[in-house]
Amino acid sequence: MAERTTTHDGRRLEAVADEAAPVELSTAPADAAGELGVLSAPRRMRARSGAFPDGASQRRYWIVLAVLVVLAAGAALGLLAIGNPMPVGSRGFWLIAEMRVTSLVVMAVVAICQAVATITFQTVTNNRIITPSIMGFESLYTVIQTAAVYTLGVAGVVALQGPGQFLAQVAAMVGLSVLLYGWLLRGRYANIQVMLLVGIIMGGGLGAVSTFMQRLLSPSEFDVLSARLFGSVTNASAEYLPFAIPLVIVATTLIWLNARTLNVIAMGRDVCINVGVDHGRQTIYSLVLVSVLMAVSTALVGPMTFFGFLVATLTYQLAGTHDHRRLLPLGALTGFVVLAGAYFVMNHVFYAQGVVSIIIELVGGTVFLVVIMRKGRL
């Protein structure tokens, strides 16, 4: 932020230099303008090289961010306060609100995981129509859940609850994807397209195994299972959060620190190597972090196939920049607004709790189509 402001001021001063006598310019803060003025013969306002090409798109970004913060706060307050039977401010009100805070925290964790993971994944794969959830995370989750119910009956759902089981599921999902990346992205025929294809096919295969086992379940067992297989924040238990939050903080921080490199990775392999970025290593590093985020989100609330994709697509439209240092925070915020907004609508408008993934997919799909139709590009 600071360096861009300096540049901007420098440019502005340079523009002023056109009217003023150049001798006057050697005063303290104007040294930038002086130097640049000498070098670029026809002195004029240059475009910017930072995250935003001009002031208008930068202002637009901050306005969008501010609006999203307001919306996020509104949805959060709405979820805490509306439908709370106790008078606002009383002890009972806060007791009930506190219980709801857990699901808000879960929403925030899921929003950050899905948004950051999807944007990073799409950048690394140079593909904006896929989402990391197709890489087998959700199918693996489904297989684990189904197998538990298949072998242990309804008790299987209970058997999979608890911090240890949560961490084991995260570890299984990260392990599977690291295996996949390690196998397919190293060595002679390293190819990201092949990795994606193998990931999708493995997901399909695991999905088929789940479907087969589901066929053999009794109706009541199937009923219990299908509640687990709809992505829902009510699936998450507060006892997972002390494990989920540190994982998310670490993975997100590492991605954030790597954001400038992600900007280069988005340019493709050749440009990466040209400017000295180790493309292969960076790809695997980013994908491992993505898999941690996806695994946490999936183990926490279940499959959210369309959510990350929707959030990433919206974020690109809203941000108006290629810079991941701007995209990632906006994405996380957009994710929270979408998720909390969907819960708010479902809880207080339609009185249909627990089917939020349906509204996300419905609204998300519509938004996606509208964007494609209107803009003609992703």
Binding site: E3, T6, T7, G10, A32, E35, L36, L39, S40, R46, A47, R48, S49, G50, P53, D54, N126, R260, T261, N263, V264, A266, M267, G268, R269, D270, V271, I273, N274, V275, G276, V277, D278, Y316, G320, T321, H322, R377
Partner: protein, 254 residues
């Protein structure tokens, strides 16, 4: 100087195994060196191997005394820049932002005042100043090509490798591009290595020509030596006559 020593590369393509080399040749410092030859001669492969975009099976390539296999890629990025003929581009990126990526080896994405100055110089050098705030998807193929060349020039490397920079360019823009590349070599002291399809462009704008055929270097030397009917006929496997044109030797092959 770029030293290419017994470099060999084998890869599988749709038509079978292609073998390049063993190639041993030197590319002198300074000036423009053109790699010419028929399709499939291995010009682009050799160029991308020198630019470390493609690994080599055997042999050694040294750029300014640095072995490209053992020198850290981020250090090489300050000595050598390389541009392929086709580049993936992001829509939400302006020309100036693209050129800014050329400064990544120095500033790792935190552009300093010096970076800004180098970016402006590269943009002005390729006459892109009117287009610098345009998004890449609003440009024609030729303009985008120029923007990418500006990016590698902003990288401020002694060696600049370009794979078919005239691809997609019409006559006027081809002439302008080659003129600018020659100026980059003469005024900015860069060593420019280009893969060219048109032997006459090479003859006029290059200082040295390396002629390749079937994965091997068949002739290398100053333009005057290569611009010879007998040599070109052998390289291109098609009858070529060299005549004296108004601006220098011209190859006539049709």
């Amino acid at each position: 100087m770029i030293t290419i020593d017994k470099v060999r590369k084998e890869y599988r393509s749709a038509t079978g195994t292609v073998q390049i080399g063993p190639v041993t040749t030197d590319i002198p410092s300074g000036g423009v060196t053109a790699l010419v030859g028929p399709n499939g001669a291995g010009k682009s492969t050799l160029l991308t191997m020198v630019g470390r975009l493609l690994g080599i099976d055997e042999g050694q390539i040294e750029v300014a005394g640095y072995d490209i296999a053992s020198t850290a890629s981020k250090d090489l990025a300050k000595i050598l820049s390389v541009l392929r003929q086709e580049n993936h581009f992001i829509t939400r990126l302006t020309v100036r932002q693209l050129v800014g990526f050329g400064r990544f080896p120095y500033s790792k994405g935190r552009l300093t005042r010096l970076d800004e100055q180098k970016i402006s110089e590269a943009i002005d050098f390729l006459n892109l100043d009117d287009l610098e705030d345009r998004y890449l998807d609003q440009l024609s193929g030729g303009q985008r090509q120029r923007a990418y060349v500006a990016m590698v020039l902003a990288q401020d490397t002694e060696y600049v490798l370009l794979d078919e920079p005239l691809n997609n360019l019409d006559m006027r823009h081809s002439v302008q591009m080659m003129g600018r590349l020659r100026d980059a070599a003469r005024e900015l002291g860069r060593t420019v290595v280009v893969v060219l399809h048109d032997i006459n462009f090479a003859a006029h704008y290059a200082d040295h020509i390396i002629a390749m055929k079937e994965g091997a270097v068949v002739e290398a030397g100053p333009v005057a030596r290569i611009m010879d009917g007998e040599v070109l006929t052998r390289v291109f496997d098609t009858p070529v006559q060299v005549v004296e044109g108004p601006t220098g030797p011209l190859a006539v092959y049709y």
